[in-house]
């Protein structure tokens, strides 16, 4: 201005400009600050990753007899992924309800197998025998076969490969 304007306009102009400075400054600080803080504290709100493993379409599992399914389990630590080969026994009688067994004998963790003739699970290490539902028939195991949680999503079977004990 050329200095001829009166005090009120000059004051309100100053006032207006500093108001703009404060507001724009606050917006800049908020955008940058919230981005930085959000990025920094994001791990606090990270959910524990649920490692559901896809075992394939449900149609592929024969009814009645348990099937051994091999899968690769991925363990993630930030961008580093390690893969672990693992397996599970899948049992269904109606194609809708599934039981998935942990592949290790509950005695000492040996891998067991399904005996088609006897319709039983046999463990070679210490001759343990389990029935089709995982219950102990004979031998040293302290409890029935451990199971994995499972769910069906879009006609595919998913398991959560963490053994859960079954009460006798």
């Amino acid at each position: 201005m050329d200095g001829s304007s009166d005090n009120t306009t000059r004051f309100s102009r100053r006032h207006f400009l500093s108001w703009i400075i404060t507001t724009v400054g606050a917006v800049i600080a908020a955008v940058l600050g919230s981005t930085a803080i959000g990025y920094f504290i994001s791990p606090a709100f990270q959910r524990k990753e649920e490692n559901w493993v896809d075992l394939g379409p449900i149609g592929t599992f024969p009814k009645g007899n348990p099937t051994k399914v091999e899968f690769v389990q991925r363990m993630r630590d930030a961008w580093v992924t390690t893969e672990r080969r693992s397996s599970a026994w899948v049992l269904t009688s109606d194609g809708e309800n599934y039981i998935v067994f942990d592949p290790r004998c509950t005695h000492l963790g040996c891998p067991y197998h399904w005996d088609e003739e006897k319709k039983q699970f046999l463990c070679p290490c210490h001759t343990a025998v389990f029935d089709v539902g995982g219950g102990v028939v004979s031998g040293p195991p302290p409890r029935p076969l451990d199971r994995y949680q499972n769910k069906i999503v879009d006609d595919r079977l998913y398991v959560f490969p963490k053994p859960t004990q079954v009460k006798t």
Partner: protein
């Protein structure tokens, strides 16, 4: 000689060098008698150790990789293969210890002399924040070699932070960069140790020093409060 003076004059005209020198170095300070004067060197000792840490830290960063599968080996490499590497890492490690000691001694000097009083309250507060930054440096730097001691000391530290009432588990997760310690913890600590903390510390040390010069260094306390001497 004459050329030197001309050069200085030329520079002074364009940078105000002389004025800066007068303000920072040619300023007068109250006299302190005898051994008391040596206590006043603790502040500059902190600054000196900080500079040592910056130099050695920058050099170490040239060979260090902040990733769990390389961190330990890169530190080993510095130790065994790099010329003067072992010495440099020794300087940085012992510098860290000295940093804590000298900063604490400096704080005790100011505490016992009551030098935090009017008008130097803010100088003291900045100092307390710098002390916290030094602790943070120590905590984050401890993890970087990724040996057993590093890993488990940090795990304990994170657990301690996790015990904070109410927000504990969140704090621990933010520290660890996730649910478990691992890749993200190391990169996080590295970024804090070499970027965030040095910048913050340099800034606060700058303010601290500005305030020291602004108010002038405190005079040694006297048992009785002398009156102003009238000329």
């Amino acid at each position: 000689m004459r050329n030197n003076r001309r050069l200085l004059g030329w520079l002074d005209e364009r940078t105000g060098l002389k004025k800066i020198w007068e303000t920072l170095f040619a300023r007068k300070i109250p006299e302190s008698k005898g051994s008391v004067a040596w206590f006043y060197t603790l502040g500059s000792a902190c600054l000196f150790v900080f500079v040592v840490q910056v130099i050695t830290g920058v050099l170490l960063a040239m060979n260090y990789v902040p990733s769990p599968d390389h961190a330990y080996d890169s530190v080993r490499f510095i130790d065994k293969q790099v010329f003067l590497g072992h010495f440099l890492r020794g300087l940085h490690k012992w510098g860290a210890t000295f940093m804590v000691v000298v900063v604490l001694l400096h704080m005790l000097r100011v505490y016992f002399m009551g030098a935090y009083k009017y008008p130097r309250e803010v100088t003291w507060m900045m100092g307390v924040v710098i002390l916290l930054l030094v602790m943070a440096f120590s905590f984050t730097g401890y993890l970087l070699p990724w040996d057993q001691k590093a890993y488990w000391a940090t795990a304990v530290g994170a657990n301690i932070a996790g015990q904070t009432p109410v927000v504990g588990s969140h704090v621990a997760k933010i520290l660890k960069g996730g649910e478990e310690m691992g890749v993200a913890t190391l990169t996080r600590f590295y970024a804090l140790h070499v970027l965030v903390l040095p910048i913050l510390t340099a800034l606060l040390v700058g303010i601290h020093l500005f305030l020291v010069v602004w108010h002038g260094i405190s005079e040694p306390p006297e048992k009785t409060n002398r009156q102003i001497e009238s000329n």
